[in-house]
């Protein structure tokens, strides 16, 4: 029994990790684009970006998942754009998570960029650097250093938030654990597999915490 449960939980956790990784890969760069939008001197773009961020941060991720997964099927003439089965559910989840987390990241980036003293940018300007040279050679690393603590918060939350994808039946680890309660693999009424999923989260987040501590130390050589 134990091995059956562990096998099923492992499979679920693999899906959890996949969603986690894909969300980071998408949201980390997308968040930067959104943060530039929210700092743009072109007002319509700034207000559009701020409105999107307001809506995404102001509504539950669970609701966004449901909307992204189900609504296109009703309104698009060709029916749902998502492939059928787990692949489609994963894709829809990934899209919802990337958009949601990009909005949160964008605000952290904005804080990080605006927290770099304006004198840094001016020093770059008087040295004849272009705007993009200033961003990549002067601002970026100082911003990264500033955002490590808030980003580690968000990223650890993301690990646990992946369980929300269960609302559209994406088969992540909570889904896998819950299955033993409802009946699966010939067992039903088993409660401990659901609780045992907590160990997976805890161990993985422990590893992430160590990683962020290491990154912070690596960046401690400058102030």
């Amino acid at each position: 029994m134990f091995l059956t449960v562990i096998g099923a939980l492992n499979e679920g956790f693999l899906q959890t990790l996949k969603l986690f990784a894909v969300t980071l890969i998408g949201a980390i760069p997308l968040g930067l684009v959104v943060s530039f939008g929210s700092m743009s001197s072109f007002l319509p773009l700034r207000w559009l970006t701020k409105t999107v961020v307001w809506i995404i941060r102001g509504t539950p991720l669970m609701l966004q998942l449901i909307i992204i997964f189900y609504i296109p099927g009703y309104v698009l003439p060709g029916g749902s754009p998502w492939p059928s089965g787990e692949g489609g559910r994963f894709l829809a989840s990934a899209v919802a998570f990337i958009i949601n987390y990009a909005c949160y990241f964008s605000e952290i980036y904005r804080g990080g960029i605006q927290g770099v003293p304006v004198g840094q940018q001016e020093a770059g300007q008087v040295l004849g650097m272009t705007k993009s040279q200033i961003f990549f050679h002067v601002t970026l690393l100082q911003m990264v250093k500033r955002i490590v603590p808030p980003m580690s918060n968000e990223i650890i939350t993301l690990v646990k938030d992946t369980s929300i994808a269960r609302i559209i039946s994406m088969q992540e680890i909570i889904w896998a654990g819950y299955a033993f309660l409802k009946g699966s693999h010939g067992y039903s009424g088993l409660l401990w597999p659901l609780f045992f999923t907590g160990v997976y989260y805890l161990v993985f987040n422990g590893a992430l915490t160590l990683l962020f501590g290491w990154v912070e130390k690596k960046l401690a050589y400058f102030r």
Binding site: Q120, E122, A123, Q125, V126, G128, T130, H137, Y221
Partner: protein, 261 residues
């Protein structure tokens, strides 16, 4: 011909007039000190020269070439402004070194980025970068910092940081080097080492504009002195004359506060 010619510069922030009808010129190899109380517009003037602020009126000419003309938007295009800035160097009151780079990297970063725009960069990449590196080392040595080249700004004293900042500005070989109260963030002990470096630059006939509160230094090092008050130039002339026997009552008042202590 004057290397720098500033004509009728005006700058206001909203309704506040920060600079009014500022005109002066500077000869090659001369040092100009700008003195005056806080809020008199000295820093804004330097920032206008370095294109960190856009004047509302007036013209700025370097070597007879019009770099800026408030009446001519063609002189204010972003891409060209970037190149024009290179006529000027600016040393900030708060140093503004890049904290993530070593002293040497701070000095060589901008020259390395600029070198990438040279047509022969790809061909001679190695020689060009080696030369920039060597020049950076030499500048730090001039500043008395050759043993600090590999240190990060947070490992340096304020005086050392400011000397790195001076080397960084010199690395681009500006026509005119500007100092914005270079010693105001330093304690008296560290002030001396920075002033010594600036004095040496003056002896080598570096064209400079120095905004400072160090009156004795301005008198000894500068050729010309401008006294500003309330956004206007109250008095300008040879350094010794302005500081030792000012003609204007307002200048006398200002200077008397320095001789009291």
């Amino acid at each position: 011909m004057a290397i720098l010619d500033v004509q009728n510069i005006e700058k206001h922030f909203g309704a506040t007039r920060v600079l009014e009808d500022i005109s002066f010129s500077l000869e090659q190899g001369q040092a100009l000190a700008i003195i005056g109380s806080s809020g008199s517009g000295k820093t804004t003037l330097l920032r206008c020269l370095n294109f960190l602020e856009t004047p509302n009126q007036g013209r700025i000419l370097v070597n007879g070439e019009t770099l800026f003309d408030a009446a001519d938007p063609a002189t204010q295009r972003e891409a060209e402004v970037r190149k024009k800035r290179l006529h000027f160097g600016l040393v900030f009151q708060s140093f503004n070194l890049f904290p993530q780079y070593t002293a040497l990297e701070n000095v060589t970063l901008a020259p390395r980025l600029l070198a990438q725009e040279r047509p022969d960069f790809k061909q001679n990449k190695k020689t060009i970068l080696e030369q920039i590196q060597a020049e950076g080392q030499e500048l730090l040595q001039k500043m008395g910092l050759s043993d600090r080249a590999g240190h990060f700004p947070c490992q340096l004293s304020g005086g050392q940081q400011q000397r790195v900042a001076i080397a960084r500005a010199l690395a681009l070989k500006p026509d005119i080097l500007c100092f914005d109260e270079p010693t105001s963030a330093l304690d008296p002990e560290l002030t001396g080492e920075v002033l010594k470096v600036i004095r040496a630059l003056a002896e080598q006939k570096t064209t400079m504009i120095i905004v400072t509160h160090e009156m004795a230094f301005a008198r000894d090092v500068a050729d010309q002195v401008i006294f500003m008050d309330g956004g206007v130039i109250v008095e300008q002339g040879p350094a010794r004359q302005v500081i030792e026997c000012p003609r204007e009552e307002r200048t006398r008042q200002f200077l008397s506060r320095y001789s009291e202590n």
